[in-house]
Symmetry: C2
Subunit: 438 residues, 2 copies
């Protein structure tokens, strides 16, 4: 029974206190300084203060902490005009490795990164249509994680953590896949299953939030207060960066834009509803748009989303009229849906991410911008940029690895005896496993 059937609270005295502490700020600022160092190494404390807006004293303290954690190193001095030489710091790339796992409906991508978030190794496994058991998917993940560690030739002890993204609704505190519509998973204890094969600290979340964190740390949302990262793949959603941090909602399920209603009583969605955004702009929805326009089109590969979207992209490049109309129609839906996000959130930037956006690229972006301009209100429209994700690799792998980086920062802080309250952090307190490295 949903809580919504509970009686209303009384006029006074209800609710739980929302505690914000200086430690929350400190954690956010520590992330911000590390982000900036990763983006521009080597750099000085003075440059960091200018780039982040923090005071030099605060930056100096945070840099000291990151040095102590061996995440960055001192790399010499630069002359300052007439003043004392300024100490330079840089990411300590070899200080550890991070692994990002992108479990999607049709594949498992795994990438291993150094601390500068450069890719050192990659592995990919296909997930075939029949493979819907959690154990089958976990097997692919374990094989690919083993492969990247071997390829990179690093010691297991240097792997600081593995971030895992799985589609659908995730309880990150318990490491459970609560609902994954593609495989009809309900309450699968995915983190426990993975722990049997993977002996590194594990962090579970979903592609929406992984993409959003990737843009926040390394992409188009870096330094932005309010950004929306629109994920266009088989599933569709909107990762929310609000007030400079990831907005998770009260039970880590915010951002389900793919399951908002755009056409009341419209197409049936796999969530059971009708007219959801996903049924018009997800990969399957785009296939339906194409089928309505050209039922016999050679672009259509029934039962193969990737082949169809690839064919559409080639058709656009060749000025195929059916491809153009299918993308125009998709952009009409997408423009209305993105305009909804612009009107609701009034963000600085909307980033189009994931494989469908990457494959259809600039032609899709151009049409979407025109459609959004027709739908959005003038004031929020004027304040919003719409861009393709500038991240050249898989943003979900990158974001998942970033969850592991945040987790390592947090557990290191705890080991230092600094107990932190991280209500607004993007990292769970519980999901660090106690396994020893293999």
């Amino acid at each position: 029974m949903p809580k919504s059937t509970r009686p209303e609270p009384a006029w006074e005295g209800m609710g739980t206190p929302v505690k914000r502490t200086s430690r929350d700020i400190r954690t956010a600022n520590r992330y911000e300084v590390l982000r900036q160092i990763i983006a521009e190494s080597p750099t000085s404390r003075q440059e960091l203060a200018a780039a982040t807006g923090l005071s030099l004293a605060t930056v100096a303290t945070l840099v000291g902490e990151l040095l102590e954690l061996r995440m960055i190193t001192e790399v010499g001095f630069e002359d300052s005009a007439g003043g004392r030489p300024r100490g330079l710091v840089a990411v300590n790339s070899s200080g550890g490795a991070l692994i990002g796992v992108d479990i999607a409906e049709t594949y498992v991508h795994v990438e291993l990164f150094d601390l500068g978030l450069n890719v050192l190794a990659r592995a990919e496994e296909d997930v075939r249509a029949g493979e819907s058991l959690p154990e089958q998917v976990v097997g692919h993940v374990a094989a690919a994680v083993g492969s990247v560690v071997t390829q990179a030739g690093i010691e297991g002890a240097r792997v600081l953590g593995v971030g895992v993204s799985v589609p659908g609704q995730v309880d990150r505190a318990t490491g459970t896949s609560e609902y994954a519509p593609n495989w009809d998973w309900h309450d699968v204890p995915l983190l426990n299953l993975l722990t049997e094969h993977i002996a590194y600290p594990l962090y579970l979340d979903n592609p929406l939030r992984a993409s959003a964190v990737a843009e926040l740390w390394f992409g188009a949302a870096r330094g932005r207060g309010d950004a929306v990262v629109v994920n266009l793949g088989t599933g569709v959603g909107a990762g929310l960066v609000l007030g400079g941090g990831l907005h998770r909602g009260v039970s880590n399920s915010a951002g389900e834009w793919g399951h908002t209603t755009m056409v009341l009583d419209g197409r049936l969605c796999r969530c059971g509803n009708h007219g959801c955004v996903e049924t018009y702009v997800g990969a399957r929805g785009i296939m339906l748009n194409l089928r309505e326009i050209g039922p016999d089109s050679a672009l259509l590969h029934p039962d193969d989303q990737t082949a169809t979207i690839d064919a559409l992209a080639r058709g656009l490049a060749a000025d195929d009229p059916v491809a153009r109309r299918a993308v125009h129609e998709t952009a009409r839906y997408l423009g209305a849906g993105v305009a909804d996000l612009v009107n609701l959130f009034n963000p600085e930037i909307v980033v189009l991410s994931s494989w469908v956006a990457r494959t259809l690229g600039e032609p899709l972006l151009h049409e979407v911008r025109e459609a959004v301009a027709r739908h959005a209100l003038p004031r929020p429209l004027a304040a919003t940029e719409i861009v393709l994700s500038p991240i050249p690799t898989d943003p979900v792998c990158l974001g998942a690895a970033t969850f592991a980086l945040e987790g390592a920062l947090q557990t290191a802080g705890q080991r230092n005896g600094k107990r932190t309250t991280l209500a607004r952090s993007t990292t769970p307190a519980r999901s660090r496993t106690t396994a020893s490295p293999s």
Copy 2:
């Protein structure tokens, strides 16, 4: 030309820094402590620490500041079991007066409050259909503000400020009504016009944000991290409380839920688009729903929204089948739209506010809860309560007066020589006029 047509930023080095400081936290905590004292006076520092989750030392400092501002007073001691007697504080109700102005499409409501936010006087002016000039509306506001000050019999010098809510898109920094669709206002310098008649500090914003702030300080969102306040009137919108504070967006225009698309290519909206939520659940939309069900119904008062909604409420009470079907149909639309908000924000609570929600009350709430349960995803649905606003007076007046209260807290802080950075505050730095009290 919208910014969305600008080229994308490069991979690195873009964006402006998001600066968060301890002062932001301090301001938020000062609001939180004052909120709690207003809700429960008298109270002790120990009770405040327990209720807010702040440390006793922090509470003691903040209470000291509020005492210095004469917003609260010491009112004696209570025994603590075996320990030292605890000092009690209470709101200093007579420490000043606040005025809230609710400019709506059909009326101007004005209320004068003491510092405990108790209503001391009210005035109302009708805005007739022909009165669409800014000067006419300003005249009504000036008359009603004069009336409440006279009625309350207080000295002008004790009025700390006047919060003014006007429908549509507002630039609060310049005090401009950028766009008010009902009167087709564009870039009306409303604050300047009001300053010619009203000699108190003025704060301009819109009903979405006023309602949200009223719920945050005094209603169902108090102490909640994430809440959505759904405003159902002639216009429709969603005030957003995220991370314990008001989410304004990058240009103070977040929350335009009324202008998100629910039925692509559906009813024409006054914003120029088709199928907006407002055209199905705003007062005019409900009239259309009623007309579709019972074109000759006696419930329908063409050209009179208030009379029609009142008639619908009486029809519900009398079990009139046309009224029941019209409200059922309205709740079907509203349920889909509220489910979108639940899926996107994953809030703790959704509050139905404004005059349409108040008039249709429990029967509407009941139907909406059932419709939301059909549309929302299980995980966010399970975490969300849906309630009617518990605020017994006009929430927009109360919220507008709260903007004036926040402004008074802020300007007092500045007079004390504490220059504050209020990036996440709900109060503009600029809109305090320098007029002397009348």
